[in-house]
Symmetry: C2
Subunit: 241 residues, 2 copies
């Protein structure tokens, strides 16, 4: 088994031939919100590549059981039911509902990763232990795909990828190798492990969110293993496993 | 002054609006060979985007004073005068000569970085001190552009970028900020600083070169500050400064 990391969405062309299991990481905040929603009883989360796609998808689903969710520029999309703060995804709001989810980076990366039928799950700090154990059980190669920020690298996603790479390697043992990207990410995580919140708050996107008044989300997004849920894509919808 | 790092060539679209000074890094081995050549008296190194472009350029230059240099798949290109081992670029071979240089990653990145008239220099471990001092004197934003490997990330280039980012920030003082990528690269360098050769030999490209019998190049490529030369692009040719 080989563990690779997509450090930035811009590297997709170089990794497009990847065959194996993909875990999509968007720590601030799509991964965290999706994991929170499914842990709190949402029936499914359907990732959309754009808000327009989410709206179009809703028209094909039964009325009353769907919520439009997501953000543009970090803020709730006008006319949508929920934004992208994990705290919005309480059991009271999402239990039994199907969520149509359009975020700038995370949901697009999920849609992109799934092309060609690759198995895709969603990972963050909040379910790192569950995802690591799940992926270490398999024999397939693994690509930890960082959603990044506006098409480029983000520190918090790479750090989470490093946590996962290190944990999976430890669980899978000597037959598991790391790419250059995975080795770099693992070293990043070792550097930041003692202060994940400081790392995330000091990252470009952390600073941006704080500027929007959304800094309180950061703490939830770096809480290790708050959930044991692994969202897995099945027929275009993420479901809890 | 802001220091950013292009961790992978795939991130160019996200950075294409960059205005400022670019330093191109291809530790294994184009940066190192180019810096070595200019330190050993080569008159100029003209980066070409492809071997074909290098051959076409030669036909427009005076005969007898040019050398065709570069690699494909790590090996000298058939019909070329020199490959991409720094040891080939001795004073005896290159002094007074103009080198047409086509490598898989490095020369292409130089050509790409120079589009739009951006100032471009070439950096590696072998001239890190000289480049850092030069760039810290300026006021422009800095992009440390890793040439990477086949369009993707390489550990040794990111580590060298981290050395430069840390050194420039220290020299430039409090007015200097680091992007997420620069912060990550600086942490990588701190992790590997005590064993640059082990890092480079264990990287994907280091392993590949060793497999080709070119492992002896690695040591030369991670030798800190062997030269004080800063190759600077001027009218399409790199010259020593």
């Amino acid at each position: 088994m080989r563990i690779d990391v997509l450090l930035s969405p811009g590297d997709w062309p170089a990794k497009s031939g990847f065959q194996g299991q993909v875990a999509v990481i968007d720590v601030l905040r799509a991964s965290t919100s999706i994991i929170t929603a499914l842990s709190n009883g949402a029936e499914a989360v359907i990732p959309a590549a754009s808000p327009e796609e989410a709206v179009a998808l809703r028209e094909r689903l039964p009325a009353g059981r769907t919520l439009l969710c997501g953000e543009r520029g970090g803020l709730i999309i006008p006319g949508f039911d929920l934004g992208n703060s994990p705290a919005e995804y309480s059991a009271g709001r999402v239990s039994g509902k199907t969520l149509l989810f359009a975020s700038t980076n995370g949901s697009r990366m999920i849609v992109q990763a799934a092309r060609g039928g690759r198995p895709v799950c969603v990972a963050g700090f909040v379910n790192a232990d569950a995802v690591s154990r799940r992926l270490a059980e398999g024999t397939e190669d693994i690509l930890l795909a960082c959603a990044g920020r506006d098409g480029a690298f983000s520190l918090e996603d790479a750090t989470a990828a490093g946590l996962l790479a290190g944990a999976i390697r430890q669980l899978a043992g000597s037959g598991c190798s790391l790419s250059d990207e995975a080795a770099a990410a693992a070293l990043l995580h070792r550097g930041f492990a003692d202060d994940l919140e400081g790392m995330a708050a000091g990252s470009e996107h952390g600073i941006y969110l704080t500027g929007l008044g959304l800094g309180a989300d950061i703490s939830a997004c770096v809480t290790r293993d708050a959930f044991q849920t692994v969202p897995v894509l099945s027929d275009g919808a993420l479901v809890a496993t």
